[in-house]
Every structure is written in C-alpha cells, then in structure tokens.
C-alpha cells in the first residue's frame, strides 16, 4: 500500500501537465486507486510480493489512456456482477463497489489475459471546452 502514493503522484502529475480538467482528474485518481488496491490485495495472495506496471498517455483524439499490468492470478474485473445498489443499509454487502465505480468512471475499459499477466486498458474522454 505504501506504493499507492508513488503511482498516484506519477499519473496525476502527468495528467495535470497535459491540462486535464478537475473532474476527469478525480475519475482517473479513483480508477487508479480501485485497481491498484485490487492488485495489492488479491493478485499475489499466494506468493507475497509481485510487480505492477502503470502506464499513461494522452492521445491525439483527446483521450487519456491508462494501462495497468500485473503478473498475478487471472482477474477480469469486467466479468464481475455489479453489487445490488437497491438494497438497504442492513442487507447491503460491503464488497464489489470498487469495480462498479471503475466501470462507471472510465469511458472505456478492456481486459486481456496475456501470457500469465493481466492487462487492463482504460480510456477517459476529456471534455472539450466550448468558446
């Protein structure tokens, strides 16, 4: 968990430099935290330490691209069911919210299992400013 801040400041530093608006920055930050805490908690449960690689880029078509790559056990967040959001406080389950938020916040998410690794690619559409 101590590495969360390193990844966060790297990605947000880049995004800010590219002039991305506050609301999209919030979405990027949230998605990054949800996915990294998932990797930290679940990907390497059997073996202790493991690697995770984070890449980001700003594309010509006005999209911010984030890629998260780990070599842990297979995990496709898109294959999970959304939590039941209509339940009351007592019945509501504690888990599953993180992935739900990721799917809501990113404009496009894709998952691929590649040679013993998980690769998630996410895209955020940057709103164009009307003048």
């Amino acid at each position: 968990m101590e590495y969360l801040e390193t990844f966060r400041s790297y990605v947000l530093g880049k995004a800010e430099k590219w002039g991305i608006d506050q609301e999209t920055l919030f979405k990027i930050e949230l998605v990054l935290e949800e996915l990294l805490t998932n990797v930290i908690r679940y990907a390497y449960v059997d073996g202790g330490n493991g690697d995770v690689e984070v890449e980001c880029s700003f594309e010509d078509n006005g999209r911010f691209h984030l890629s998260i790559h780990d070599w842990g056990k297979p995990f496709d967040p898109l294959g999970r069911e959304d939590p039941d959001l209509t339940k009351g406080v007592n019945e509501r389950e504690i888990g599953g919210l993180g992935i739900h938020l990721v799917r809501q916040m990113a404009d496009q998410v894709s998952y691929r299992r590649e040679a013993n690794s998980n690769r998630l690619k996410l895209y955020f559409q940057i709103p164009t400013v009307c003048t």
Binding site: E23, L85, T86, V89, R92, L97, H100, L101, Q104
Partner: protein
C-alpha cells in the same frame, strides 16, 4: 484526512476534511466506531471539505451505518460537493441515506 467531532444537541457532527481513501478510511471508521461505543448514535457527516472519496471510504461509511442501525441509531449527510455527490449517487448511497444542504438542516431531522 482530518476528522472533527462536535456534539450539537442530541447529535454528533462529524466533519471530514481532505481525502477518504484506502489509506485513511480505516482511521475514520475506528474513530467513529469509538464514539458509537460511547453512546453517540445520531450522527451528521459534514462533508463540505471532503475532497476525494474512493470505495474504501464508502465501505467505512457503510460499516459505520450498519453499526449505528444495530444500536437503533442513524447517520445522515450534508454539504457534499458535486463530484462527491456523484460518487454517492452512482454507488446507490442516495437511496440509503438522507442528504441535506447544511448542518442545521441535517440536525433538524433528529429533533423531536
């Protein structure tokens, strides 16, 4: 993250400043939990200065509200900024809790 507790009438106002993420949320949960154990079962969460919340923060809010419910207590919320309100809404929290524009309005709910 900074959490301040302030007893107002029969309720406890919990003002949260900064970030509620995977690192800080457990601390919020344990502080609130201690107050519940001391018998404070009506809470108003003042989120005016909350800048960021992730599922870890939402989870601790849910845990706290479950604990309050067991003791026949309650938590309501006030002063959420646009993006924070959005996160609450897409998580389905808007149907579980009541939201108010000011601390005073939130406190009215507990007056009898």
């Amino acid at each position: 993250m900074e959490v301040k507790f302030d007893k107002q009438g029969n309720a406890l106002v919990v003002a949260v400043k900064g970030r509620m993420d995977a690192i800080t949320a457990p601390d919020f949960e344990s502080q609130c939990s201690n107050y519940i154990d001391e018998g404070h079962i009506l809470m108003v969460a003042d989120l005016a200065e909350l800048e960021y919340i992730s599922s870890a923060g939402l989870r601790s809010i849910l845990q706290i509200s479950k604990k309050l419910k067991q003791k026949k207590g309650q938590i309501n919320f006030c002063c959420l900024s646009g993006i924070i309100q959005h996160v609450f809404t897409i998580s389905g929290f808007d149907s579980m809790f009541s939201f108010h524009d000011s601390v005073a309005q939130a406190l009215l709910q507990y007056e009898r």
